[in-house]
Amino acid sequence: DVKVTQSSRYLVKRTGEKVFLECVQDMDHENMFWYRQDPGLGLRLIYFSYDVKMKEKGDIPEGYSVSREKKERFSLILESASTNQTSMYLCASSLWGRSNTEAFFGQGTRLTVV
């Protein structure tokens, strides 16, 4: 089974802190994604990466950055956490190609910024 593991289930951070969310996948997938999920808004794409050291902005990249130094690991960085970044963060990975491109998700990190 594909496994996508996020380093923390719950995090509480203070406003202004630099926050790191880590994600590891074990299926040698090329693509990795970070989404945030808020009630009534669904999942929104923050950043994605299609290869090591490659990254692309999603729909809501402001206030975030990412790092992909190894194929299996994709990190989301909140440069200076703010209360409006309180959310559920979901990491996903998928194969690159014309078929079988379904994404597999981690268990999520519930981040609260106080």
Partner: protein
């Protein structure tokens, strides 16, 4: 711009009461339509991929169908363990990176 709309927002069913969830989509060209199940506090779990109009897929009490403008997720004789939020997402043909555009989801509660 790609758009996905799910209805209803919430659905309450009695055990055994079959029903359908709707996912309407607008996309320049459809590479795939995906259904996920999400339990509270957990990440989405992949259910189905549909690629072309007329395609159907089944898994236990769930059946997904696809037309050119919408997809339905039929829940037949649901059980309480089918309670979850069901998410629909589309992937555009001209997207090389596998990005998904999600709907807001339908929250299903099945009572005994």
């Amino acid at each position: 711009e790609d758009q996905v709309t799910q209805s209803p927002e919430a659905l309450r069913l009695q055990e055994g009461e079959s029903s359908s969830l709707n996912c309407s989509y607008t996309v320049s060209g459809l590479r795939g339509l995906f259904w996920y199940r999400q339990d509270p506090g957990k990440g989405p779990e992949f259910l189905f991929t549909l690629y072309s109009a007329g395609e159907e897929k089944e898994k236990e009490r769930l059946k997904a169908t696809l037309t050119k403008k919408e997809s339905f997720l039929h829940i037949t004789a649901p059980k309480p363990e089918d309670s979850a939020t069901y998410l629909c997402a589309v992937q555009a043909w001209d997207d090389s990176w596998g990005k998904l555009q999600f709907g807001a989801g339908t929250q299903v509660v099945v009572t005994p």
